[in-house]
């Protein structure tokens, strides 16, 4: 089963690498991993999608916690959360196929961001399953290239955090 883990890490040299190294050293799976800034500029948020049974996920969470550069590790699976992914997909089309692709794009509420007389690029965002779905539907047309951002996720509902929760005390 897939699990989404959200990790706040120090925005420092090597923090990302440390997490990635730990995953490969321990032989844990990574389906996707994404990292970016948070509202606090010295902290980055990593969203890791991995899979395994409960014992393995517990071990992954503990191993993540053990790293010095990780500040907070939350397992989001089983919690109210929003997960999003963005994909850029370049598909080829033949005469007439253009309308069909446009229809599909509309159904998935994507955007056409580039077009020429042989291919067009779609931009789609949504839960990762939605991205999987459109890829499936577009496959028969011929996907020339594709880039997925990996999942980002946040817990839903009111999040009250003390103002200085993660202040680095000297």
């Amino acid at each position: 089963m897939k699990h989404t883990i959200s990790v706040l890490v120090e925005n420092t040299f090597g923090a990302f690498d440390r997490v990635a190294t730990m995953f490969s050293a321990k032989g844990f799976n990574i389906h996707s991993i994404s990292i970016g800034e948070t509202e606090q500029k010295d902290i980055s948020r990593m969203t890791i999608v991995t899979s395994g049974d409960k014992q393995l996920i517990d071990q992954i969470v503990k191993q993540l916690n053990r790293l010095i550069d990780t500040i907070k590790v939350s397992e989001l699976t089983g919690q109210a959360r929003t997960e999003r992914e963005l994909a850029l997909i370049t598909v080829s089309f033949h005469k007439g196929g253009i309308e069909e692709i446009k229809n599909i794009n509309d159904i998935f509420r994507g955007k056409i961001v580039d077009i020429n007389n042989k291919t067009m690029m779609l931009e789609v965002t949504g839960p990762p399953e939605k991205i999987d779905a459109i890829i499936n539907v577009l496959m028969p047309f011929g996907i020339i290239e594709m880039a997925r951002s990996g999942t980002v996720a946040l817990k839903r509902g009111e999040q009250i955090r003390p103002k200085n929760e993660y202040v680095n005390k000297k």
Binding site: T21, Q55, L67, D69
Partner: protein, 572 residues
């Protein structure tokens, strides 16, 4: 900004920081990237720098020093090859949770990434084998980084921390202020065990009919041997040790079952397999201990006390985890439980197992045997020596036949199993311990892996006994070849290629002896143990094709041990 403070160079800040940390010894080797540090070191009086003959030696020496002293071991090496030479030593310390701080020189910041002369990405290389590591990019961060490095190395589950120091950072200047305290928001080593969990554990143990303590190196690291011993004695619970746990409980105590696991005693493994409550303390259910995890202590309710949450449930499912410092948890446990009566039936059962299958070897007829030599050393030193083993058969025989009476006395490469560990580690030990016999024991194979450090020992007149158990073979590998690999003795025979060990010793200025005669052993030991102002070397020419028994074949259940040769070779 405070303008009154004067500025200092990175090199000065480096040594001032070490002074603040109370560092007394530093093991190292100079080079271009650290030359400025060595320039300062020339006039530094508050610490002793020990020049080893190889950076791997420096790292193992710091490791040995740390294991016996309980202090952080410190290493200083240059960039590139100096740094990469420490890798085995760092991995070794990481596996055995030894607190080290390794300082590596680095090429100047502006050259990093350029394949500059003697550049190696040591931070990248050591990421999976350090507890944490740092590249210092600005001299302003130097003092606080050193503070953090020592803090991280020594607290929680200890481990090695590497600090990479670019040459320009060492030369740059800034004001010096050493932080009084450290707080790292992502690092809060849990110390106190959960009190409800402790109460629950006491309750379970109170009702146990066949309790057993399974004790690892964590107890020694936490200086909790006294509490452990008191808990075991007051509550009449038998104790078995892991390789690294030896010494945490007196080896001569009748409640002691010896080591468990692959080359553990039959009775320890039977006790594990039949206990109803297993109390693991500072141990990590390593595969050499558990054998087949499905059958490991399968009857038992398992309590696991450990400082590292990742150790819990990693290999074996735990019923009751208590995360925290072993010393504090055992102290709390003692308050809850200190008068559990002796379970006679259980002790009787254990005695029966001991009688059925004691540790034994054939007395020396004409051949000298390592077991015999170890037993003699144990008697001669009354279990009070510090024994630094290498890796192989002799290491297992030390674990079986030396009766360790004190913690921090058995120094052995457990997790990584690094041949070549003993000689340099003994050098480090000798810089920490002055009042007890120090014995380095190697096989003839491992002896040759870091024998350059004999020179360090000779130069400093370290009173180390360097013993070689020369069986002319890479014995432990030969054992597996004999038992499980169709007797194909592929590249394990050293008979024709071994050097003359006594001549090596002599060439390096170390008085050296050799014997193959069991009748000479006592006298020779008397002679060398009387020498206390310099190293000595003794080669024991021991039986060539001896095997370590009992043994659990890899991955087997620890209740199924082999006790003698299974191949019909007609050998005893």
């Amino acid at each position: 900004m405070n303008t009154k403070k004067k500025t200092m160079t990175g090199a000065d800040i480096f040594f001032e920081s070490l002074r603040k940390e109370g560092v007394e010894k530093i093991f190292g080797y100079p080079g271009g990237a650290t030359i400025k540090l060595y320039e300062k070191l020339y006039d530094v009086k508050f610490l002793e720098h020990i020049l080893t003959r190889h950076e791997q030696g420096a790292t193992h020496a710091a490791d040995g020093y740390a294991r016996v002293s309980g202090k952080v071991g410190v290493v200083l090496v240059t960039s590139g090859p100096g740094a990469t030479n420490t890798v085995t030593g760092i991995a070794n310390a990481y596996m055995d949770s030894v607190p080290l701080v390794i300082f590596t020189g680095q090429v100047p910041s502006h050259l990093i990434g350029n394949d500059a002369f003697q550049e190696a990405d040591i931070v990248g290389i050591t990421r999976p084998i350090t507890k944490h590591n740092f590249l210092v990019r600005d001299v302003k961060d130097l003092a606080s980084t050193i503070k953090k490095a020592f803090y991280i190395a020594a607290t929680g589950r200890p481990g090695p921390v590497l600090v990479d120091l670019p040459k320009d950072v060492i030369a740059a200047e800034c004001e010096f202020e050493y932080p009084e305290t450290v707080e790292i928001r992502g690092y809060k080593p849990t110390l106190k065990g959960h009190s409800n969990q402790i109460k629950k554990a006491a309750e379970v143990i109170r009702n146990a009919k066949r309790p057993l303590l399974y004790v690892g190196g964590g107890v020694i690291m936490a200086n909790a041997s006294k509490e452990l011993t008191e808990f075991a004695k007051k509550n009449n619970i038998p104790v078995t040790n892991t390789l690294l746990g030896l010494g945490s409980f007196p080896g001569t105590d009748p409640q002691f079952l010896g080591m468990l696991g692959m080359h553990g005693t039959y009775y320890a493994n039977q006790a594990v397999s039949n206990c109803d409550v297993l109390i693991a303390v500072g141990a990590r259910f390593d595969d050499r201990v558990t054998g087949n995890t499905k059958t490991f202590a399968k009857e038992a309710y398992k309590i696991h006390i450990d400082i590292d949450p990742t150790a819990i449930d990693k290999n074996v499912a735990i019923d009751l985890p208590i995360v925290g410092n072993a010393k504090e948890i055992l102290t709390e446990l003692l308050k809850e439980l200190s008068d559990k009566p002796r379970e006679e039936a259980w002790f009787k059962q254990i005695e029966d197992w001991k009688d059925a299958c004691p540790l034994e070897y054939k007395r020396p007829d004409n051949e000298l045997r390592t077991q015999f030599v170890i037993e003699k050393i144990s008697e001669k030193t009354k279990g009070e020596a510090i024994i630094i083993s290498d890796v192989g058969q002799h290491q297992m025989w030390i674990a079986q036949y030396y009766k360790f009476n004190n913690p921090r006395s058995h120094v052995s490469s457990g997790g990584l199993g690094t041949m070549g560990f003993s000689i340099p580690a003994a050098v480090g030990v000798a810089f920490a311990i002055k009042d007890r016999p120090i014995v380095s024991i190697s096989g003839d194979g491992g002896f040759q892996m870091n024998m350059q450090e004999l020179i360090t020992a000779a130069y400093h007149k370290l009173p180390i006994k360097f013993f070689i158990m020369n069986n002319c073979f890479l014995g432990m590998v030969r054992q597996w070849q004999e038992l499980f690999h169709e007797e194909k003795y592929s590249f394990t025979d050293l008979c024709d290629s071994n050097p003359i060990f006594t001549k090596i010793g002599t060439a390096l200025g170390i008085e050296s002896f050799s014997t193959y005669n069991p009748d000479e052993v006592e006298e020779l030991l008397d002679k060398v143990f009387a020498i206390n102002d310099r190293p000595v070397l003794v080669e024991f020419k021991v039986a060539k094709e001896d095997l370590v028994f009992p043994m659990v074949p890899s991955g087997g259940s620890i209740s199924d041990m082999i006790h003698k040769r299974i191949n019909p070779k007609g050998k005893k």
